[in-house]
Symmetry: C2
Subunit: 484 residues, 2 copies
């Protein structure tokens, strides 16, 4: 087994022990982990540990880790913090290799007791062979091994890995990603990082055949140079999306209450992005937004964007959004405009970019013809289609037109003759129940059919711009290498 | 009548003529205007004009404006562009004072014919006493006079005026604002601005007793110095929110296709905001977001913000959002923390700011006590509560808890003992139908009950920050005046 594969047994354990389960089925922590592993079809051997119980959830219960008849591949500790040092010592005696400490109450509390416990477990871990995830984290979520004791129910196998100190982020993204058709190879929540570090997980993911994209949420960072070099290298073949929490002074202060990490300075992180070419993201939505473009679009380093929305003032807004997000909104050629002007009347429409062609919106053939013509324009590299959901619930005719145009968009994106990347923004007023529900269904429908789809045009432009910037960076890096 | 009241008959006309109505009830433009004026209860006299019809919508039809038995207070022109010059001449002969040119097809087309027509009508208007709104615009929307021939059905009288070259923006905001409990005094869409200018409308609104807040969407700006001085003056007593479209080069290019205006440069607009203290906004959502804080909150110039969300990683994100939006996230005093720590356990919670108090979330009394304590903290000026809507539709118990907490929030905000401003962010995954619908209902419920409520924490922080900045600017300006 290559050294980078040493974590295989952490992600694909043949046996899992749960320390801190309670005989009470409504117990939180360890008990709920055990229940979910069973419910979600984990097929390895399960060992509940509780000195006060003989059976939990129909399984024989052990008084401590040492008493389990085999060294379990993966131990989850979910007791109160003060019990953790002794359990770690038991794990060492019991020849355990992989430990996830779910328990919190360490240095992140900012209190003396927690800090002392943190020092104690850090010393134990350092002087052992234990591979420890945590403490103060949700641990590991792997659909392929059904090691999914938390987060959403795994619904498919995918190629995105998410590495995060925060467990809440892991839970949220498991739900969000899957609902939009972005499935995961692994989600890793490693909290205060007293054992395994981001770099350990990244080295594993670099050669992990199941992982094609990697997203990271960092609060602090140990060993900055090493991780920068590593991400730069991985990013060449597997795009790495990095969200740094705590970039503002307020955020940095919140970081210290959360995982007790020291947040780096903004300028250090700017240098990190510039050196590595990693894709900067700023929220979990942005991670999934970005994964969609990388998963579905053909690479392009061109940022000349065709905008198709509607409305004069709105066209200005769309162009401003693209301008701010670093996309270009070029003029389309006179030749294309002349072709468009043959069947689109001038008054109230615009056959410039952004395209505003209300007069043909009820006519799918004319609409398709207009799209084909403008997408084929030599000044255009990529396109954003904005679809505004806004109607009177009582107006069935209007809704019927909406439905027809919905179907047209899916068809069009999948059979777009130009082959140029298209993303869709489906916008609606968030406080209107009809449009908000309709948008929810449409977002899900489009995204799960393989079209990068966004709930705002800002999000669409941002994801597309980052995709283009990634390919631009890699193309330049390749050129520079060849020149050497 | 004072000179600033000269536009009264434009907004409150006793008679309206509609030129360009069709005998076909499905006709667009003039005909639909006429239908809506009738449907929405406009009680003045209506005069359809069409040389080819004798009756439209049950009303006697006139061949031209001159033939109407009285000079109508307000004429709406909705014919094709080439007919407009002659109709304007008829209006002059017929002693008409106020004209709205809905028709498009002028310089905004970028074509020779449109430019020539534009020059022609500009000359006619200049050499007359006509007060012209447009061309290429939706005109005037006034709930108090039922002059609402377009946009949403008027649902109430309010104090926000919206002045916009774009008509699409006017329509959208009439819907959005009213749905969130923000009602309007006037919405003005003035398109290519060949007659009345922004400055004319602003002078009217300055002394308009129905208007307490003014929002403007500008593409170009004539007479920059005059408008800057005017907005600076108005802004002292009536907050002015200004959205400048076309600040990016791409947006500026789109502006020229839209209203044919010349978009100014970014640095000129920076100076404008700095001099006037006008509240910068960047979308229609932001106009309504901003109106909510001004409408509902007590003035404050303090930006030390208490954040109440949940989750460790999420707390970092909340703090970063506030940091970016210019709010401070201070430490709360040791004394408050000690009080909180008496009933909130350390592990898994944070009694720092952002407050993360999962362990008491099911206990309304403890929750209220925690809020009361932290809001009263001397380091805190304002608060943002984030409410994440995320659940399993099948989990009725969870939904019941949601509902209880929803009610608690409304109660709490309205009877908050500290009196410090609170805004709420109700967040949900836009692609999940259950949460998206639930959020829509909650947003509407909170906002219409008088609590500034937002669909993202970014929006909440932005609106709050702008509110604080406005009051800070005015406080400084007052000090500077007193010192002189």
């Amino acid at each position: 087994m290559s050294s980078s594969r040493v974590l295989n047994s952490l992600f694909f354990p043949e046996s899992v022990a749960l320390v801190g389960v309670s005989a009470n089925p409504a117990g939180w922590g360890g008990t709920s982990f055990l229940q979910r592993l069973k419910k979600r079809g984990y097929s390895g051997r399960l060992y509940p540990v509780n000195p006060k119980a003989t059976e939990v959830e129909g399984l024989k219960c052990y008084p401590d880790v040492k008493s389990i008849p085999e060294p379990p591949d993966h131990v989850i500790i979910a007791t109160a913090a003060p019990a953790v040092p002794q359990i770690l010592r038991d794990c060492i005696v019991g020849n355990v290799k992989n430990v996830h400490i779910f328990s919190s109450g360490f240095s992140e509390t900012g209190e003396e007791e927690g800090k002392k416990l943190d020092e104690e477990i850090t010393a134990i871990i350092k002087n052992s062979d234990l591979r420890v995830v945590g403490p103060n984290c949700m641990g590991i979520w792997v659909p392929a091994s059904k090691l999914c004791a938390w987060g959403a129910e795994p619904k498919g196998l995918g190629s995105l890995a998410f590495v995060s100190q925060s467990g809440g982020h892991g839970e949220y993204i498991s739900e969000l990603g899957q609902s939009l058709g972005i499935y995961f190879s692994k989600i890793i929540s490693f909290g205060n990082a007293r054992g395994l570090q981001a770099v350990d997980f990244l080295e594993y993911l670099e050669t992990d055949p199941d992982t094609k994209m990697i997203a990271c949420y960092f609060e602090g960072m140990k060993d900055g140079n090493r991780i920068t070099q590593l991400i730069k290298r991985i990013n060449r073949t597997k795009p790495v999306f990095v969200w740094k929490g705590g970039l503002t002074p307020s955020g940095a202060q919140a970081v210290s209450s959360h995982t007790g990490s020291l947040a780096g300075e903004e300028r250090i992180w700017k240098a990190f992005y510039a050196q590595t070419g990693a894709v900067p993201v700023g929220s979990l939505e942005e991670v999934i937004d970005t994964a969609m473009v990388f998963q579905y679009l053909k690479p392009t380093a061109g940022r000349r964007t065709l905008l198709m929305g509607g409305g004069g003032g709105n066209s200005v807004a769309l162009a401003d959004i693209c301008g701010r997000e670093g996309l270009e909104v070029p003029r389309i050629t006179d030749q294309t405009r002349q072709e468009l002007n043959k069947f689109i009347r001038l008054a109230g429409n615009s056959t410039r970019n952004p395209l505003d062609i209300w007069s043909v919106q009820e006519d799918p053939d004319a609409f398709k013809k207009a799209f084909d013509l403008t997408l084929a324009d030599p000044n255009i590299d990529v396109a954003i289609m904005e679809k505004q959901i806004m109607w009177d619930d009582d107006d069935q005719e209007h809704m019927e037109r909406h439905r027809k145009s919905d179907g047209f968009m899916v068809e069009y994106c999948h059979h777009n003759a130009s082959g140029k990347p298209i993303v869709i923004a489906v916008t609606a007023m968030a406080n209107m129940e009809g449009p908000a529900s309709y948008r929810a269904r449409l977002l899900t429908r489009y995204a799960t059919s393989g079209i990068p789809t966004y709930s705002t045009t800002v999000n669409a432009a941002r994801a597309l711009s980052r995709f283009v910037a990634y390919h631009e960076f890699q193309a330049k890096a390749k050129q520079a290498n060849q020149a050497m």
